[in-house]
Symmetry: C2
Subunit: 389 residues, 2 copies
């Protein structure tokens, strides 16, 4: 008879990387870990999570509990993250106990605390929007008076995918948020032409690599489309954006990936919007679109292995996210998408379909931007909704 | 506290494919399953096996036991194979009970029984070496007299990677094998120029796709190098080889992948050597070298989904196997290989290193054959031995 699926611990053959969190980023990291013979271990909340479904060494536990993290880290050559919510103090404690946590607490805090990030980037001379901490209506009014309305209010900690960000046209609109007790900061609204992102990797030994600058398209604060490389970007502006991202990675002592989200202003210059220190939605195109996927790059970096080539494999790569629609029957729609376009790559994250939830993405390749973009959109929309666009 | 790694069954989100066997082919299939949101389940002998290390839904059991196969198949949308050793009768029994086994017994027997394969291909008019069943010294002498020496003796069932194949210059050399009780056949020795392989996929609905013809280099019966596409191959000869492979897939009713190993004769024509009905060493280059990896293609085919584009992503792709050397410290040698060549892709199968064992492969890409081949060989040799070639 077959055994039930009770797994004893298997001694590892290769290096062991522990990733805290078991969402789609950990899931896609497993694809890279399989190739490199790295044992990937994840800390999940449940065996139903995206990565837990596909990773043999899944442990259940609460990442907010230091003892859980200690037990999880045992036997790992490096610890890294699928999300940025692990308390800074826990990371410091693990590091003090000799665990190789990458990125470390000193770097990671800049992706966890937007005010700390703004202070540091400002001190480094990195272009940022005007900003200030605000602790009440008076602060906000003063900020709006100086920098104009609308003002972008942000939760200093914990926001993602548009959550924790409020664009306010007046102090009245901000009343509810101001009264909520959330630690807040204000930023000047940037009248950007478009959004760009630069993904870089940095190893503990200091090797740095930058992927090509991409254009990202957001809807309701969620990244829905990425075009690599960013179309029509002036090579000098591209070099400047990459320079800024590598400078930040170096200045903050990042180990692993750093995604730098930027606004491009009329005239071409960029200002930095957000930082993420992990594989990032703006880098999903690299799975098939670059010689080294961001997930492999992250594993190399956290294990202090030499970094891989970020070269793209096609002149144009477009990634479009699949957001859950009303009808959860995604698999029934593979038929059309695959038959319609044998070259499009489908990624489905093994998550329950809920409206608006990121449940997958598709990637298309080619030479003509409009054609590639239309193909990727067609596939993503059909998978999500069953419609033909 | 973290739980121990005891996993309860998680209800699947997507289709479930069960793969019998947990070697490196199942391991690499998991990379493709992760992308497509397919739940891959494997039947392993132990949790130490290559695929068992990286697949959450690993079941232990003996594939020679029909009850084990029945329990394994429960809840699977399709059953397929990492190897060709499952008894034909068991596959027939499962099929009769309504399990979608792909390939089915009628097709698979041609990859399990070389004499059945030769009878069928000969009847289909597919070019093969002269061959005959032999049951003793007299048969062999008669065959050698008619077709010349050396004669290639083959075990009708169970051989792979050069095992079960003996090149004999005289009946005396074959004495031990002839006396062993193994069911044997003889084939004329083919004075080939080189070896080629054609990988095709066929779906239950009959869609067929052929990858480009590749050149394979064998040492001691083990595939050590694959060049895609086969250099200098006349387009008509290439088309003919692809036509033969697709004809076989259709004629035998293959569902899933079919690898057709061929000898190319002086003058360009081919004769068929061996068949495999699963992902194959000659197709590992497709993981990064083709728009659709052979592992994704196999999953699509066994689930009767439309097949993916087999287009290569670079003019020259070379795959070189990593065979275990005397020093098992492969990971310590990542450092040189990755620093030396940021574009080479390393695959390590999570298997214990033993001399001569296939433990991984590397893939390189480019435009110049000599340069790409040198890069792939350098990486593979260094990983295996620590030497610089």
């Amino acid at each position: 008879m077959t055994s039930v699926v009770t797994r004893r611990e298997t001694p590892p053959i290769g290096p062991v990387v522990g990733m805290v969190g078991a969402g789609q980023l950990a899931r896609m990291t497993q694809q890279a870990a399989i190739a490199l013979g790295i044992d990937l271990r994840v800390l999940a909340n449940s065996f139903d999570e995206s990565a837990a479904r596909v990773i043999a060494d899944t442990r259940l536990g609460d990442y907010r509990d230091l003892d859980v993290l200690r037990a999880f880290a045992e036997g790992c050559d490096a610890i890294t993250f699928d999300h940025e919510h692990v308390p800074t103090g826990h990371i410091e404690a693990l590091t003090a106990e000799g665990v190789a946590v990458r990125p470390g607490a000193e770097a990671l805090v800049h992706a966890q605390d937007k005010a700390v990030m703004r202070e540091r980037l400002t001190a480094m001379g990195v272009p940022c929007p005007a900003w200030a901490r605000v602790s009440g209506r008076e602060d906000l009014e003063a900020f709006g008076k100086e920098h104009g309305w609308p003002v972008v209010l942000k939760a200093v900690r914990g926001g993602y995918d548009g959550r924790g960000v409020w664009v306010c046209s007046s102090p009245e609109e901000a009343a509810e948020v101001l009264d909520s007790g959330t630690e807040l900061m204000a930023e000047a609204f940037v009248p950007f032409e478009r959004e760009l992102a630069v993904l870089v990797a940095r190893s503990p030994h200091g090797q740095g690599v930058s992927y090509p600058v991409v254009e990202t398209v957001q809807q309701d604060g969620i990244c829905v489309e990425v075009i690599a490389p960013a179309p029509g970007l002036d090579p000098e502006d591209a070099a400047q954006a990459q320079h800024i991202a590598l400078k930040i990675a170096n200045g903050l002592g990042v180990t692993g990936l750093l995604a730098v989200e930027m606004f491009q202003l009329p005239g071409g210059k960029v200002v930095v919007n957000e930082l993420a220190m992990r594989p990032h939605n703006s880098g999903h195109w690299t799975i098939e679109g670059s010689r080294t996927s961001q997930f492999e790059q992250h594993l190399r970096a956290v294990l202090d292995l030499p970094l891989g080539s970020p070269a793209p494999v096609a002149p144009v790569v477009v990634m479009v996210n699949v957001l859950g629609g009303a009808d959860p029957g995604v698999f029934g729609r593979y038929e059309h998408v695959m038959a319609h376009d044998p070259g499009v790559k489908i990624h489905f994250y093994g998550k329950e379909v809920r409206p608006g939830r990121k449940i997958g993405h598709v990637t298309a390749f080619g030479t003509d931007l409009d054609e590639v973009r239309a193909r990727a959109r067609h596939a993503a929309v059909h998978l999500a909704t069953g419609e033909y666009v």
